[in-house]
């Protein structure tokens, strides 16, 4: 353990990330250390361990001092471990978490699996000795099997059969891991590789969906992912459309384009709070304030858009699809009453799959227009076709 030194987690210029794995604990010989849960990264030069909570806490171990490697398979209550036997500490090494240790080996405990993969890569890197000279082509099998116990001297050429398949899968994974960590090194890199990363993220998500049905158990995260996928490419902002009326009317138009379909799908109505959430998710980081949203919605009627703002007496505000035009609704309601003979609001709500409040409202509206008549009894409110008008 005294061979470890503190570092800032950044890589040397010619150093490359090979493999990484979360949920790894470091043991000093047989003893536990405070480094319980972290990300273990294997590079061409070093082993890096980063604390999962405090990401500034990083320790490193040069691969060059690893004398040999062993595996300890997982037991009933134990995680699989890798044992690394180390050279005695060299004088003048940078400061580390422990100044003196009784053990000359460390153990890495893989609590979230991945031990086999890691062991294979680690063994290979120790063997390749890429830290010695970067110009050396990878894996030109330097003869000295540097102590790795059961090394088979595998050449990186394509092998047929199962081992070959495993190798190529492994190589591909390694490549992907490398690509991801390179792209996310800084913002500039990510912007350059954005397109590839978008595709990669989609591939990963699709594959995971194939296997377990969805990317996550969490219903909110699933819903979030759905809402985000409805992104708008050019959100109307004050910067693009200026202040005042022009901004609001453009905003209203954009809202109408975005929302008309979802509103019709949810039965022709959506509360403004739901609208607020949907719109902002589609806009991503370009937030819209509740005030601006309300103002834009108020303009919808004036602009003759297919959705309108509507406020109920209870103070509930919704956006409503224009297909629910008053006259059409009234004649539709009258037709249903005619067909059924008589109707209460509960019955209408069941027939149309509407809320009871809205069903009642429809009937009252139809009554106001003279389409139906009420029969008000102690059993409740019932509506009949208006024969006073039709049969007089």
């Amino acid at each position: 353990m005294d061979r470890f030194s503190w570092c800032d987690g950044s890589l040397f210029p010619d150093e490359q990330l090979v493999e990484q794995q979360g949920g790894v604990a470091v043991y000093d010989g047989h003893d536990k250390t405070p480094f319980i849960s972290g990300f273990l990264m294997l590079t061409t030069h070093r082993l890096l361990w980063r604390d999962q909570k405090n990401r500034n806490c990083v320790i490193s171990l040069p691969l060059s001092i690893i004398l040999g490697l062993d595996e300890q398979p997982s037991g009933f209550t134990k995680s699989a471990k890798i044992v690394a036997h180390l050279q005695s500490p060299s004088p003048g090494q940078p400061p580390g978490p422990v100044t003196h240790s009784a053990h000359s080996f460390i153990r890495l405990s893989f609590r979230e699996l991945g031990q086999q993969e890691f062991f294979r890569s680690l063994k290979e890197e120790v063997k390749k000795k890429r830290w010695e000279s970067q110009t050396q082509q990878s894996g030109s099998s330097s003869a000295s099997g540097s102590g790795s116990s059961n090394s088979q001297g595998l050449l990186p050429r394509q092998r047929p059969g199962i081992v070959g398949i495993e190798r190529s899968i492994q190589a591909k994974n390694k490549e992907t891991n490398k690509n991801i960590s390179q792209a996310f090194q800084d913002l500039k890199n990510l912007m350059e590789k954005a397109k590839d990363m978008v595709n990669l993220s989609k591939t990963i998500a699709t594959k995971i969906k194939e296997k377990q049905g969805d990317i996550t158990e969490d219903e909110t995260v699933r819903f979030k992912s759905y809402l985000l996928s409805m992104g708008i490419s050019n959100p109307v902002t004050r910067e693009t459309h200026g202040e005042g009326d022009k901004y609001y009317s453009e905003l209203a138009r954009q809202l109408a384009t975005l929302l008309t379909k979802p509103i019709e799908e949810t039965g022709g109505m959506m509360t403004l709070t739901d609208v607020y959430c949907r719109v902002n998710r589609a806009r991503g980081m370009e937030l819209l304030s509740p005030e601006d949203l309300l103002h834009a919605c108020e303009l919808m009627e004036f602009l003759r858009l297919p959705i309108r703002l509507r406020t109920f007496d209870s103070g509930v505000s919704v956006l409503q699809a224009q297909s629910q035009n008053e006259e059409e609704v009234v004649s539709e309601t009258c037709a249903i009453v005619e067909k059924q003979g008589n109707l209460t609001s509960e019955q209408l709500s069941q027939l149309l799959g509407l809320s009871v409040v809205l069903a009642k409202e429809r009937l009252l509206m139809a009554e106001k227009m003279g389409g139906v008549c009420r029969d008000e009894t102690v059993e409740g409110l019932n509506f009949y076709p208006n024969r006073f008008l039709t049969e007089a």
């Binding site: 891991n177 990317i215 992104g231 509960e346 809320s355």
Partner: protein
């Protein structure tokens, strides 16, 4: 020389080999899947970090912003990651409470199928915190209430009710809820329904059942029967079976 037909041992060997191939195959598939999961976690962590650190830069570039959003969408990462700074705390300014508002409504929308748009503030807090990702600060109940207050201008569709010492958030208003219709369906057979019927048969929360029934009594759609044993039952006049016909 003609080939000897395969004996039993050969067949056994063959099927053994096949079983082994199959095992190996599923082992490879499993490890491949574990790798995918790992890459997904890598993506997630990286995206969360970038959303926190480079927010303004990402916003500046429209093309990249969309790409970033696409990545967030496929991995399920929240791109909104403002932290509650000093000014947000003191004056409620800045994006923090607006973002929180969006996240709150999102949780409510996502769970409304299950809970009918009623959620306790404690559950809401837990879910919001979980969906904000690992870089999130702790969110307090007070934060939630402040964020919800900012939504007030959008109408009464989203409201907070005090229940005992805690709060209940209602995200589906009476105008849009289908709970009442479901109650009616439930009552169709017997003409009446009790609160525990709804709780047991529909696995509703008790509060949800109580609210739905209270509303229907208030609207004159349901009558209460105080004499039906240990629990009140609710009758719906429009559903009461027509006994006059069956007598004839």
């Amino acid at each position: 020389m003609s080939r000897r037909p395969a004996g039993i041992a050969a067949i056994k060997n063959k099927s053994l080999a096949q079983a082994k191939y199959k095992d190996k195959g599923s082992a490879i598939a499993d490890s491949q899947f574990a790798q995918m999961g790992k890459q997904m976690e890598m993506f997630k962590g990286n995206l969360e970090d970038f959303a926190t650190k480079h927010r303004d830069d990402i916003r500046k570039d429209p093309e990249f912003r969309l790409q970033f959003q696409e990545m967030c969408a496929s991995i399920g990462v929240d791109p909104l990651a403002s932290s509650k700074g000093f000014w947000a705390e003191m004056l409620g300014v800045g994006d923090f409470y607006y973002e929180l508002g969006i996240q709150i409504v999102e949780v409510c929308m996502a769970t409304s199928k299950r809970n009918g748009g009623l959620i306790s503030i404690e559950e809401l807090r837990r879910k919001v915190e979980a969906s904000r990702g690992r870089n999130s600060q702790a969110i307090s109940i007070d934060d939630l209430l402040r964020a919800i207050k900012k939504l007030k201008i959008l109408g009464n569709g989203f409201s907070v009710h005090k229940v005992g010492g805690s709060f209940l958030v209602q995200s589906v208003p009476g105008e849009l809820t289908l709970d009442h219709t479901v109650v009616l369906q439930q009552a169709q057979e017997k003409g009446n329904v009790t609160k525990s019927d709804l709780v047991n048969l529909l696995s509703w929360e008790e509060e949800r059942a109580r609210r739905a029934l209270d509303f229907m009594v208030k609207e004159g759609l349901a009558w209460v029967d105080h004499q039906s044993g240990n629990e009140h039952s609710f009758w719906f006049p429009s559903l009461i079976p027509d006994f006059s016909n069956s007598l004839n």
